[in-house]
Structures are given as structure tokens and as C-alpha cells.
């Protein structure tokens, strides 16, 4: 079920601005991969190229090849919607649908993709909310608006929404940056659990978090502002955090730069 992701010389542009250049990396199925690096180095941009979310912005485009289990998703006849159904994404800022109730938010992906049976939706909602560690907090107010939750609850709602459609890859862009330590732990637990079934890629600025949750870590960086971001080092998390090959990685991790 889980998918292997293979990026080959992926380059992404915003108009004429080259945000990332020549990214090559392979993500094994059923692993957690952390993307770290200084602000503006293109972590979010790279993450968004994986489910073809990058091209949603006007003028943005991607060069290179990105295969999911040997299917290049940038082939011309690929159905973008199918790609995104397979590769879910949690955004940095919680973005629940404001016109929908908590329940409707969680099942939005299923319902708008044609699932009608109420019992199926209810089961899926409960399962997703339990996985996201939100069920106990919202089980009595499922009909209330999703925007009425706290920031951390909204983020977990968005995670529940994403896993409710059972994607095979889950992309997370700093999912814990708005969360308290307890919710953060809950999300990290969730990642451990999800790892059994899904491939997970997470962007984080929190070194401890990267060290705790990930199997592999990719370090991105830029030479100077205006340059495209590059992949500096990609290795086992343990290796990166104990004995990185590149001096720059070590500097970043030990806090001497970035």
C-alpha cells in the first residue's frame, strides 16, 4: 500500500524565480522522512511538488521527474486529482472548511468523492478522529462548526480530514508549529502509528522532533538569498544527527548557522 517516492532532478519555479534546483532523493515506503533547513530554502516548495500542489499557484511550474512506485506523476496524461487522492497533505496553518461542521470537515474528502452511505461516513469519521487524538474532545459536538475549535484542535481536525481518505503518502508541512507540547506528542505518536501503513514526509524546524520521529532526514539549504534551494545531505536520521558528512549540516544542526 505505502508508496516509494523517487525524485530525480526536481526543479521548481515561481514565475521566473527558481526556488529549488536539482533535488534528487528516494523515500522508502513505510518510513518517516524529515525535511529540515533554514527558512526560505524550499522545503515547503519541494513538499508541494510531491502531490502536484505547487502548480496550483499561477506561474508556478516544475521540471524533472517524480515517480511514485515507478509512475512519473509529471507525465502529461496523469490525473492530478488521482495523484492528490493518493498523496494527502497537512498544511502549516490549519485550514478547516469554514462552512462545514466538524463531522462534515472530516468526511469532506470521502463525501465529495462520492461516498454517500451514512454508516460508512460515521465509521470513517470516528476512526480518523481517534487516530488524530481528537475524538474525545469533539465527540459531543460533531455538528458544531469546525472553525470554532482552537488552533491546535483545528490542526488535528485537518490531520483527521487527511487520513480519513486513506492516502498512501502523507505530507506534513510543519504540522506542529501551532500546537502545544501535548498535542505535538499526540501527533508524533500518530506518525508512529501511521508509519505502519503510510509513507510520511514531514517538514519541521524542530530538531528534536526530526530526531524523534524520522527514519531519514534531508537537509536543504541555500547559498544566499536569491539562490535556489538545494539538497545538501540526505541520510539516516541517526547519521545526520550524530555524524553528518557535510560541514554545513553539522553547523545547522548544532545551531551555528541558519
Amino acid at each position: 500500500m505505502a508508496k516509494r517516492i523517487d525524485a530525480t532532478s526536481v526543479t521548481a519555479y515561481y514565475g521566473s524565480f527558481k526556488a529549488i534546483e536539482d533535488i534528487n532523493l528516494t523515500v522508502e515506503p513505510k518510513t518517516v522522512t524529515a525535511l529540515i533547513g533554514p527558512s526560505g530554502c524550499g522545503k515547503s516548495t519541494f513538499l508541494r511538488t510531491i502531490n502536484r500542489m505547487h502548480e496550483v499557484l499561477p506561474g508556478a511550474r516544475v521540471d524533472g521527474k517524480l515517480t511514485i512506485d515507478d509512475q512519473n506523476i509529471y507525465e502529461r496524461d496523469v490525473d492530478v486529482t488521482a495523484v492528490r487522492r493518493m498523496i494527502g497533505m497537512v498544511f502549516q496553518r490549519p485550514n478547516p472548511f469554514p462552512t462545514m461542521s466538524i463531522f462534515d470537515n472530516v468526511v469532506a474528502g470521502l463525501r465529495l468523492n462520492g461516498v454517500r452511505r451514512k454508516s460508512v461516513l460515521e465509521d470513517a469519521a470516528e476512526r480518523a478522529l481517534r487516530s488524530a487524538n481528537l475524538w474525545d474532545e469533539v465527540k459531543d459536538r460533531l455538528g458544531k462548526p469546525g472553525a470554532g475549535l482552537s488552533g491546535g484542535q483545528q490542526q488535528r481536525l485537518c490531520i483527521a480530514r487527511t487520513i480519513a481518505v486513506e492516502p498512501q503518502v502523507v505530507l506534513m508541512d510543519e504540522p506542529c508549529s501551532a500546537l502545544d507540547p501535548i498535542s505535538t506528542l499526540a501527533i508524533e505518536d500518530l506518525m508512529f502509528k501511521l508509519k505502519d501503513r503510510y509513507t510520511i514526509i514531514i517538514v519541521t524546524h524542530n530538531m528534536q522532533q526530526a530526531a524523534r520521529v524520522s527514519d531519514r532526514t534531508a537537509f536543504f539549504s541555500i547559498e544566499q538569498t536569491g539562490d535556489p534551494g538545494r539538497l545538501i545531505e540526505y541520510d539516516d536520521t541517526q547519521k545526520i544527527f550524530s555524524n553528518p558528512n557535510v560541514k554545513k549540516t553539522e553547523d545547522y544542526i548544532t545551531g551555528r548557522f541558519g
Binding site: R84, F97, P145
Partner: protein, 362 residues
């Protein structure tokens, strides 16, 4: 209180600012208000230069000046400015409300006279100049049908057009459409009427009417559509643009296709604003006289069929009754005007309630 400085509390570095200050008591501002009115009345009537309106205007000015001086003396300069500005803004609000209140009052007081069952139950058919009866039944039917049909035409079209411009349109073509929508916003209603007259009545309608051109309520709907469309497109467009991009991306990330995202996520989010825009357009269309006069032809009898023969409308009815020589006509005109305003009000409230109820329904 140890210090009683009239100047604003000075905050030298390192010194904690004084948080409590002297305040102007409420009685004082009331006193200033009364004094301002008395003074202004004395000036105006003493010099014999004007009436009540001038007294009020002058009183406001005196009040503002008095308030500033008193507050400045007691509370200091910053508070004085604050008070004066608040007072100014409140006066501006009242000033803006005055015409509205005055119109409402005139409308209700004059319109209530003929607002009876007879008015709503009869038309003007066979009502002579000496007949105090006669009503606007036919005109109400006309307005409802014409505006209703125009709304049915323009709402889907306008929203679809706005969706195209915001979500799909790229480059020159979308830009051109936007430009022409802007131009259309400024079309005078008489021009819209003439356009439909030239195009629909004279060229198209003969095919449905044994070769003779014929007036119809539907023609009026077409003219009203021309007027409503740009308003709806523009307001919907603005509302769609306000829907945050992360919301769309959130939907895409769930594998929801673009058209469904627009239909089920973007439109519901923008719905209250869109409804407001539609109601503005409806209100404008309901008040239009010229196009109806030109292409629906008016008429005194009840005609339920908008596709055949003359129809009247409330706005046209007001226009005709206001210009009628009968001494019973003005009362009918006022009653019809009141009906028209009430109708628009009811429709607006109903639409808003509907838009609100749609949210969070499971």
C-alpha cells in the same frame, strides 16, 4: 490623587506613566450641548437669518468647539481630540441617516392611506379619473414576474461568469471579459431598454407573434438582466477572490476535483456575500422604470403571462400615477412606492435568512 495636571501625563523615561486622569463628567457634555443649542438659537433668531435647520447645524458646530475646549482644559489635548473626532463621526452618521429616515417617513405616512385590500386586490382596468378605487395588483404581478425571470436568468449566468473570471480565466480573454463587465456596469437603463426594443421586440418577437412585434414582460426581464448581470458578476467576483487560497488547496489535497471544490467549498464560503450582491441587483432592477415602459408597454389590466402582451410594474405604476391628472392618483402612487420598497426589503431579509440557514446544515 496627588497631582492635578491639566496637561497629558508626561512620561519621562524610567518613570511609570500616570494611568488615572481627570475625566470630563457626563453632565458637562450635556451642559455643553444645551448651551450650544441655546446659543445657536439666539444667534440665528436674533439675527433673523434662518430656521430650524440652521439652528441645528450651528448647534453642532458650537457643541464640537465647546466640547474640545472643555475637554482640553480638563482632560488634556489627546482626550480632547479623541472626543471631538468621536462626536464628528457620530454627527456624520446621523447626517447620513437623516435622508433615509426622512424618505422612510414620507413614504410610510403618505403611502399608508391607500394601503388597503382594494389596492392589493384590483388592477387599474376600467378605473376612470373620478374613481377613487383601483389598485396595483397587476403591477405587483408584473414586478414579481419580470424581476423573478431576470433573476433566474442572471444569477446562474452571473455566478458562472464570475467563477470563470476568478478560477479559470487566464490572460487576455478573461481580462477582456472583466473590462466589458465593468463597462456594462455603467449602462444607463434607458439604453438597456432601447437595446431590447431594437433587438428583441422589433427583430425577434415577430416570429412568435404572427409577424407583428409585441410587448411583453419577458422583454422587460431581458432589459433588467442586462442591468443586473454586471452587478452580480462584479460582486460575486470580489467575494470569490476573498475566499482564502489555502481553503482551495486544502480541498485539492483531499483529492477533490476543482469543479467540486468550487461548487462545494468555495461557493458556500462566499455565499453570504454573493447573496448580498444579488439582492443589490434585484433591488436596482425592481426600481427600474424606463426599460419596462419601453418594452413591456405598461397597461392597466392584469396579465399573468410574461411572454405575451403588455405588463406593468410597480415602478412604472408609480411613474404613471404620479403623472396622472386624477386627484386619486397621487395616493395610489405613494402606496405603490411603499409597496415596492417593502417588497425589496422582504426579499432581502428572506434571502439573508436563507443564506444563513444553509450554513452548518448536515
Amino acid at each position: 490623587m496627588t497631582t492635578t495636571t491639566t496637561a497629558p501625563p508626561s512620561t519621562a523615561p524610567g518613570q511609570s506613566p500616570q494611568l488615572r486622569t481627570r475625566r470630563l463628567p457626563v453632565v458637562a457634555s450635556l451642559g455643553i450641548a444645551v448651551a450650544a443649542v441655546v446659543l445657536s438659537a439666539a444667534v440665528v433668531y436674533g439675527a433673523g437669518i434662518g430656521g430650524t435647520a440652521l439652528v441645528v447645524a450651528l448647534a453642532v458646530v458650537f457643541y464640537l468647539v465647546g466640547l474640545f475646549l472643555a475637554s482640553n482644559a480638563v482632560e488634556g489635548r489627546r482626550q480632547a481630540r479623541n472626543r471631538t473626532w468621536s462626536a464628528l463621526i457620530h454627527s456624520a452618521f446621523v447626517l447620513a441617516l437623516l435622508p433615509l429616515a426622512s424618505v422612510t417617513w414620507t413614504l410610510v405616512s403618505k403611502g399608508i392611506e391607500r394601503l388597503d385590500g382594494n389596492f392589493f386586490g384590483t388592477s387599474m382596468n376600467n378605473i376612470g379619473a373620478r374613481d377613487p378605487n383601483g389598485g396595483a395588483y397587476h403591477a405587483i404581478i408584473g414586478t414579481l414576474e419580470q424581476v423573478g425571470v431576470a433573476t433566474l436568468i442572471t444569477v446562474p449566468l452571473g455566478i458562472a461568469c464570475a467563477i470563470y473570471i476568478v478560477e479559470y480565466g487566464r490572460g487576455r480573454f478573461a481580462f477582456t471579459i472583466r473590462f466589458f463587465v465593468d463597462v456594462m456596469t455603467g449602462i444607463p437603463s434607458i439604453v438597456a431598454g432601447l437595446f431590447v426594443l431594437a433587438f428583441w421586440i422589433l427583430i425577434v418577437s415577430p416570429y412568435f407573434n404572427d409577424g407583428r412585434p409585441g410587448y411583453s414582460g419577458f422583454a422587460a426581464s431581458l432589459a433588467l438582466s442586462v442591468l443586473m448581470l454586471p452587478t452580480i458578476v462584479r460582486s460575486t467576483e470580489e467575494m470569490l477572490r476573498l475566499v482564502p487560497a489555502p481553503l482551495r488547496e486544502g480541498a485539492y489535497a483531499l483529492g477533490i476535483p476543482k469543479w467540486k471544490t468550487i461548487l462545494r467549498i468555495v461557493l458556500p464560503t462566499a455565499l453570504p456575500g454573493i447573496v448580498t450582491g444579488v439582492m443589490l441587483a434585484v433591488a436596482r432592477a425592481a426600481g427600474e422604470t424606463a426599460p419596462v415602459l419601453l418594452v413591456a408597454g405598461g397597461g392597466a389590466a392584469i396579465n399573468f403571462n410574461p411572454f405575451e402582451n403588455n405588463q406593468s410594474s410597480l415602478a412604472l405604476y408609480v411613474y404613471q400615477q404620479a403623472g396622472d391628472a386624477s386627484r386619486y392618483a397621487p395616493a395610489r402612487a405613494w402606496a405603490a412606492a411603499l409597496t415596492l420598497v417593502a417588497l425589496v426589503l422582504i426579499l432581502t431579509i428572506a434571502a439573508k435568512l436563507l443564506a444563513r440557514r444553509n450554513r452548518f446544515s448536515r
